[in-house]
């Protein structure tokens, strides 16, 4: 059995009707991702990487660099215009973008987890925190009320949300707590792969540290592979073993995080590292 969990090859997403000049006239060297000929937006082009079991891969870049677009496609929130991705689930391999909609939904509900920057995207604010976790468990065909209660309680306790607040609406929670409930929800089905999209953005520093600690602990405990999208070098430094740097829809640099931070090759990465340190 290979240790690989996800391999992505040539993933592209162009918004709008593309023209033949879209690819050659956009990118970091042209300093834009909007095609000057047809106005299409090249959100991501030719993104390729491998992810291994239990590994954390960081994707860093500025706003509009295509990092969130990449994760959205992998979580089936968006369809790529080109490229492929293979998900290795145990001994079976799934060519992700050739699955039908029902298979994609089932993979998304049972095998993947997603934590969004905005808790409103990941949580249902009409129901209690426990109900949000119950939703994930019910989607994966667990229909035993007692067990759902126990597991939801355990998950919330694990993510340091007090069990006493389990039946309260997440609207009454602080931002950091909402984010922890989102993590608990994403982990409910014990997915082998977790996507984290700017999870600490907008939280204060001590809460950020607590959330990052939690993510690391979970990775050690469950061996969950993660893709962490962020524009914060500190997050990448703390979490990710390997990193992709994106700009204008292209991967401009990739490699071990230490290497990228200590010896950046691309001019943009150099500026990024210099500005942060």
């Amino acid at each position: 059995m290979s240790n690989k969990i996800l391999s992505v090859r040539g993933l592209s997403r162009i918004h709008g009707e593309p023209c033949p000049l879209c690819i050659v006239s956009t990118g970091p060297e042209h300093d834009t991702n909007i095609c000057p000929h047809c106005g299409s937006v090249v959100a991501a082009h030719d993104v390729s990487f491998d992810l291994y079991r239990g590994e954390i891969l960081g994707i860093i870049g500025e706003s509009g660099s295509g990092k969130s677009s990449t994760v959205k496609m992998l979580y089936f929130d968006d369809m790529p215009t080109a490229g492929s991705a293979t998900f290795h689930d145990g001994d079976t391999q799934h060519d992700m973008f050739t699955l039908n909609a029902a298979q994609q939904r089932s993979m998304r509900n049972k095998r993947f987890g997603m934590v969004y920057q905005n808790p409103h995207l990941g949580l249902n604010f009409q129901i209690s925190a426990g109900g949000n976790i119950a939703e994930r468990l019910l989607m994966s065909d667990l229909k035993h009320y007692g067990e759902i209660r126990t597991r939801a309680g355990d998950l919330l306790a694990r993510t340091e949300v007090s069990r006493a607040r389990m039946d309260q609406n997440p609207r009454t929670f602080s931002g950091g707590m909402q984010q922890r409930v989102q993590i608990a929800k994403a982990l409910a089905t014990r997915p082998p792969l977790l996507f984290l999209d700017e999870v600490t953005t907008g939280l204060d520093l001590s809460v950020q540290a607590a959330i990052l600690d939690l993510i690391l602990e979970i990775q050690h405990e469950l061996g969950t592979a993660m893709i962490v999208v962020t524009h914060d070098l500190g997050v990448i430094r703390l979490l990710a073993g390997r990193t992709l740097v994106m700009k204008h829809g292209r991967v401009i640099e990739s490699g071990l995080t230490d290497q990228i931070l200590e010896d950046p090759q691309h001019a943009y990465t150099q500026r990024l590292v210099a500005s942060a340190l």
Partner: protein
């Protein structure tokens, strides 16, 4: 067109059963489709009826499409044959379907149109029960988009309905839905069984009679065919419960008229604030009373 069904033009400008033959044929075709796919909401061309949407136009169109001159019809509303909705619908059918017999006795009817209740008396294979439905889709409470609801039905994805039930149990320690209880038909589609109380849901299960549900405003027909599995949506460890009508001492309340302790009861509060209970199915209650008085005389 079957001229036999036509009323003399002097009397009326419409055919037997108000709807024209083509309209009835279309409704019947949709009924067949609904029976073929148990619980599936079949869209149909719901006609304008000479009464407002919400008065039972969906059920009425089913009744008018199915009824023939040799049928006997019973119409009930909230269990009673004499409430406004039932009386008016019955009159309308009598007006437009000459020769059709009407009855209040469940066992005599071949076609029963009902709102809110399934008659207490067990139905037979010879009978068809037509239910008037205001909201056909059980998923409407969790998903506003019909396109997405259709996908959810197709994939039998009802987890969000269970989340609703979960929230109910968390808050009240029991499932508090009084009516419109989501019910899974034949192991796939979950229906909203119209406003029938929870009490009546188990009676859809393996019912010998064909149950047809029609929503006029929403333009949908669905069916629970005879001898079909109908299971209310529940958790594995929380059993489905029907209303149990117990007083503060835990005794089963009896009907004030016929003394029945096995029927679905309506709660009545008089001017003095005194609470009494009475069978919701008036035909059943009267029959019980007749049996009792016959026994007394004998």
């Amino acid at each position: 067109m079957n001229t036999h069904y036509e009323l003399p033009l002097e009397d009326a400008g419409y055919s037997f059963g108000f709807l024209d033959e083509y309209a009835k044929k279309e409704v019947r075709r949709c009924i067949l489709k609904a029976i073929a796919i148990p619980g599936y909401q079949t869209p149909y061309a719901s006609r304008e009826m000479p009464m407002g949407r919400g008065f039972g136009t969906g059920g009425l169109q089913l009744t008018l499409s199915l009824i023939g001159a040799d049928d006997t019809l019973k119409v009930i509303d909230q269990g009673s044959d004499d409430s406004v909705n039932a009386v008016n619908l019955r009159q309308f059918v009598q007006l437009t379907c000459p020769g059709v017999a009407v009855t209040e006795k469940t066992q005599e009817a071949t076609l029963i149109q009902s709102r809110h209740r399934i008659p207490e008396k067990a139905l037979t294979e010879q009978q068809i029960l037509v239910l008037q439905v205001p909201y056909p889709d059980a998923l409407v409470v969790v998903e506003p988009s019909e396109a997405r609801r259709k996908v959810m039905h197709g994939e039998a994805d009802y987890s969000r309905l269970l989340v609703k039930l979960y929230e109910d149990v968390v808050r009240f320690d029991e499932i508090t839905l009084s009516h419109r209880y989501p019910t899974r038909i034949n192991g796939h589609y979950v229906i909203d069984p119209s406003p029938i109380p929870r009490w009546d849901v188990p009676r859809l299960h393996q019912s010998p009679a064909l149950v047809l549900l029609g929503a006029g405003r929403e333009k949908k027909i669905y069916a629970v065919p005879p001898y079909t599995v109908a299971e209310p949506l529940v958790f594995d460890d929380i059993a489905f419960r029907v209303e149990d009508f117990r007083d503060t001492h835990g005794r089963r309340i009896a009907c004030r008229c016929c003394g029945s302790t096995v029927s679905f009861l309506d709660e009545l509060i008089d001017d003095a604030g005194k609470v009494t209970h009475q069978c919701s199915d008036s035909a059943y209650c009267e029959e019980q009373q007749e049996t009792i008085s016959a026994r007394k005389q004998a």
